[in-house]
C-alpha cells in the first residue's frame, strides 16, 4: 500500500461470488472498510450485511450509491447488470471494481469505460486469475525467456454441473460458460503472452437438454505473432468435483505444465539438448487471489495509478469471447477485431 487511508467499499450483488470470495477478502484487508451491501433480494442483503458486519444494507443499489461513506463499489451481480450499475456508480463519483465478464457487448463496455473516464473514477475488472500465483509465475517464466518463444498453449477449465435454474444458463443474462469461465482463459492468454488474438474458431455442445446455453465449449485461437492456443471450458464435472484447471505452454526451448492434479513443472531445453525439470511451488498455489486483486484495486484508487486490469483489457478479453461465440453460432472462422461492437 502506498497510503494510510482506508477505502469505504459498497458491494452490489450478494450472490455466491460476493459471499464466498469478495466479502471475506474485503474483511481481511486493513485498508478496506465494508460500508454497505445491496441486493435486489432484500432478505439476502440483510443476511449478508449481518454476516460480514456491513454498516448498512440496501434492496436497491441506487440507494447505496447515495451513501457518502462509499468511496468505491464492488459489483458482483450477474453480467447483464454490470453496465447499468457501473455507469450509475461512475456518475455518482464512485470508483468501480466490476466482476468479469465486463459486459455482454463491446458497445456496453465502451459506455462503461467512457463513463468512468468522464467522471474521473478508477475502473477495474476482476479478472481474478491474474492474481493467482500460478499464473503470475507462468507469465514471469515466459517473460524471462526460460522456455524461449511461445509456440502453443492450452487451458482446460471445467466446473461442476450446475442446476439448470441458475442464471448461468439463462441466455438473457449470459452466454454461459464461454463468457463466465472462458473470459478467464481469454484474458490470461493475452496477459501471459503479451500478444493479441487475430482469429478464432469455436465448437460447442449442449450436454443436457435442460440447458439453454452451450455448456461445453472448445476454442482454437491464433495470435498476431503466429502462436496458437486452445481452451476447453464447461460445466461438466461430477457434482462433488467443483473445478479442474490446467495450463500448458510450449515454447521453442521448453514447456510449462501447471494443473490442479499434477506435478507442476517447467522443463527447459539447452543448447546441447539437455532437459532440466524445474519445479515451481508457486504453480501450485491458487489461494488469496481475491484479496490480492482487491488490494490492487484499492492501491490504484488511493495512489492514483492505473489499475492492473483496465477497461481496455477487459474489452479485449470480451472481444475474444464474443468472437468464439459468433464462430460457434456461424460455424465459421471469425477474425478480430470484430466489426460490429454491438
Amino acid at each position: 500500500m502506498t497510503s494510510d487511508r482506508i477505502l469505504g467499499i459498497g458491494v452490489i450483488g450478494c450472490g455466491s461470488i460476493a459471499e464466498e470470495s469478495h466479502l471475506p477478502a474485503i474483511g481481511r484487508i486493513p485498508s478496506a472498510r465494508l460500508v454497505a451491501v445491496a441486493d435486489s433480494d432484500e432478505s439476502k442483503a440483510r443476511l449478508v450485511s449481518e454476516k460480514f458486519r456491513a454498516e448498512r444494507w440496501y434492496g436497491d443499489y441506487k440507494e447505496l450509491l447515495e451513501n457518502e461513506k462509499v468511496d468505491a463499489v464492488d459489483i458482483c451481480t450477474p453480467t447483464k447488470y454490470h453496465p447499468e450499475i457501473t455507469v450509475a456508480a461512475a456518475q455518482a463519483g464512485k470508483h468501480v471494481l466490476c466482476e468479469k465478464p465486463v459486459a455482454l457487448s463491446l458497445a456496453e463496455t465502451d459506455r462503461m469505460i467512457s463513463a468512468c473516464s468522464k467522471n474521473k473514477v478508477k475502473f477495474m475488472v476482476a479478472h481474478s486469475r491474474r492474481f493467482i500465483p500460478r499464473y503470475s509465475t507462468v507469465r514471469r517464466i515466459i517473460r524471462e525467456g526460460l522456455i524461449g518463444e511461445p509456440v502453443w498453449t492450452t487451458q482446460i477449465s471445467r466446473r461442476t454441473k450446475m442446476e439448470p435454474g441458475s442464471w448461468y444458463f439463462d441466455p438473457k443474462m449470459t452466454y454461459g460458460p464461454i463468457a463466465e469461465i472462458g473470459i478467464h482463459d481469454a484474458d490470461l492468454l493475452r496477459w501471459m503472452l503479451s500478444d493479441d488474438v487475430v482469429q478464432v474458431r469455436g465448437i460447442a455442445r449442449v450436454t443436457n437438454s435442460d440447458r439453454r446455453v452451450y455448456d461445453q465449449i472448445f476454442a482454437a485461437l491464433k495470435f498476431s505473432k503466429g502462436m496458437v492456443a486452445s481452451f476447453e471450458v464447461g460445466y461438466v464435472l461430477p457434482k462433488a468435483y467443483t473445478h479442474y484447471t490446467s495450463l500448458e505452454v510450449l515454447g521453442s526451448t521448453g514447456l510449462i505444465s501447471a494443473s490442479d492434479n499434477h506435478m507442476n513443472v517447467v522443463t527447459q531445453g539447452t543448447e546441447n539438448g539437455v532437459i532440466y525439470p524445474l519445479a515451481y511451488s508457486d504453480l501450485l498455489s491458487v489461494n488469496s487471489a481475491y484479496e490480492t486483486e482487491i488490494i490492487a484495486f484499492i492501491d490504484s484508487v488511493l495512489s492514483g495509478v492505473e489499475p492492473p486490469v483496465t477497461g481496455a483489457d477487459a474489452r479485449a478479453a470480451l472481444e475474444i469471447i464474443l468472437a468464439v461465440h459468433q464462430s460457434i453460432q456461424r460455424a465459421e472462422l471469425v477474425k478480430l477485431p470484430l466489426r460490429d461492437a454491438s
Binding site: E149, V151, W152, T154, T207, P238, Y241
Partner: protein, 288 residues
C-alpha cells in the same frame, strides 16, 4: 517336449508409449536395432534365417524401405498403422507380401495400448455417454516430415476408435513461429455428437517433451489416460481414483499374438480405403 519359440525381429522407430517385453508365451523378440531414426540400417539386418516375423514399431524415414525389405526376405511383417505414408506405398507393400506369400499385418498399436484400452472400456461400461475428448500429443518428428504425417494419421485413427465414431468436421489452426518446435490445434466433431480438441505439437529431436495424454469427459465421470505413466485417472461422483495399468499386456504383446493367429488362418488384407481416408485427413491437417 520343448516347443520352439517364434523368433520376432524387432525394429523400433521413435519413442514408444508402453514398454516392450523381450519375450512372452510362444515368442521372443530379437532387437535388431535400438535406434534407426537417424542412421540407415544395413540391408543384411533381416538375414537371420530363424527370424520368421519382423515387427516394425513406430514411424521413421526408414519405415517403408525396411518393411519392403522384410517382405522381400519372405518374413511375415507386423508394421504399425499406417503401414506407409501414402496409399501407393502401402499397396506396394501389399503386393510384395502377396508375391512372397507372407503376411502383412498393420494394426494401430494405439488401440492395444493398455491405458487407452482401459479408457475405452470404461467409456463403454459405466461412465454414461461420452461428451468429449481432449487430447494432447507431442511428437519428436518435425512437422513437415512424412513421419509426422504418419503419427498424426495413427492418432486420428486411434481417436475414431476411442470415440467409436467417424470425424464429420475438422478445423485446424497451425503455429507459424520460426522454430523447430511447432503446433497444431484441432477442433473436431464426430457423427455421434462427441466433440474433441486435439493439441498436436512437434518438438523436433526433444524426445523428453513427447508423449500422449487423453481426457474423456463423460456424463458421470472424467477419465484421464496417461499412456506414458501407464495409468488412468478416474474422477467420478464417488471421488477420485488413480489406477495403474502396468499389469496389463503391452500393446506389442497383443499385436504379436494376433499376428500369430493370422499366420495360422487367412491373410489380413490392408484396409486401403480406410488408410486413404485417414491419410487424406492427416495431410489436410499437417499440410500448409
Amino acid at each position: 517336449m520343448q516347443v520352439e519359440m517364434l523368433k520376432v525381429g524387432l525394429v523400433e522407430l521413435g519413442k514408444r508409449l508402453d514398454y516392450v517385453p523381450l519375450t512372452s508365451d510362444g515368442w521372443r523378440f530379437v532387437r535388431l536395432t535400438r535406434k534407426t531414426k537417424h542412421g540407415k540400417m544395413s540391408d543384411n539386418v533381416f538375414s537371420d534365417p530363424d527370424l520368421e516375423v519382423i515387427a516394425i514399431l513406430g514411424h521413421g524415414p526408414e519405415k517403408f524401405r525396411l518393411a519392403r525389405k522384410a517382405l522381400m526376405k519372405r518374413k511375415h511383417l507386423l508394421v504399425d498403422f499406417p503401414a506407409a505414408g501414402t496409399v501407393e506405398k502401402a499397396r506396394l507393400l501389399s503386393d510384395e507380401a502377396i508375391r512372397n506369400n507372407t503376411l502383412l499385418y498393420s494394426p494401430n498399436l494405439l488401440k492395444a495400448e493398455p491405458s487407452l484400452k482401459e479408457l475405452k472400456r470404461r467409456i463403454n461400461d459405466s461412465t454414461g455417454r461420452l461428451l468429449s475428448l481432449t487430447v494432447t500429443c507431442g511428437f519428436e518428428a518435425k512437422r513437415n516430415s512424412p513421419e509426422f504425417l504418419m503419427l498424426v494419421a495413427q492418432l486420428l485413427d486411434g481417436i475414431e476408435w476411442l470415440v467409436d465414431a467417424k470425424f464429420t468436421e475438422v478445423y485446424c489452426e497451425k503455429s507459424v513461429i520460426r522454430s523447430s518446435v511447432s503446433a497444431l490445434v484441432v477442433l473436431a466433431s464426430f457423427d455421434n455428437g462427441v466433440k474433441a480438441m486435439l493439441n498436436i505439437y512437434s518438438v523436433g529431436e526433444n524426445a523428453n517433451h513427447a508423449g500422449l495424454w487423453v481426457d474423456g469427459v463423460c456424463e458421470n465421470c472424467v477419465l484421464r489416460a496417461d499412456p506414458n505413466g501407464q495409468s488412468i485417472r478416474v474422477i467420478s461422483f464417488r471421488g477420485e481414483r488413480l489406477m495403474s495399468v502396468n499389469w496389463s499386456n503391452p500393446s506389442i504383446v497383443e499385436a504379436v499374438e494376433n499376428l500369430g493367429m493370422h499366420i495360422d488362418k487367412a491373410r489380413q488384407p490392408l484396409e486401403l480405403e480406410n488408410l486413404q481416408r485417414i491419410l487424406d485427413m492427416a495431410e489436410g491437417l499437417v499440410g500448409s
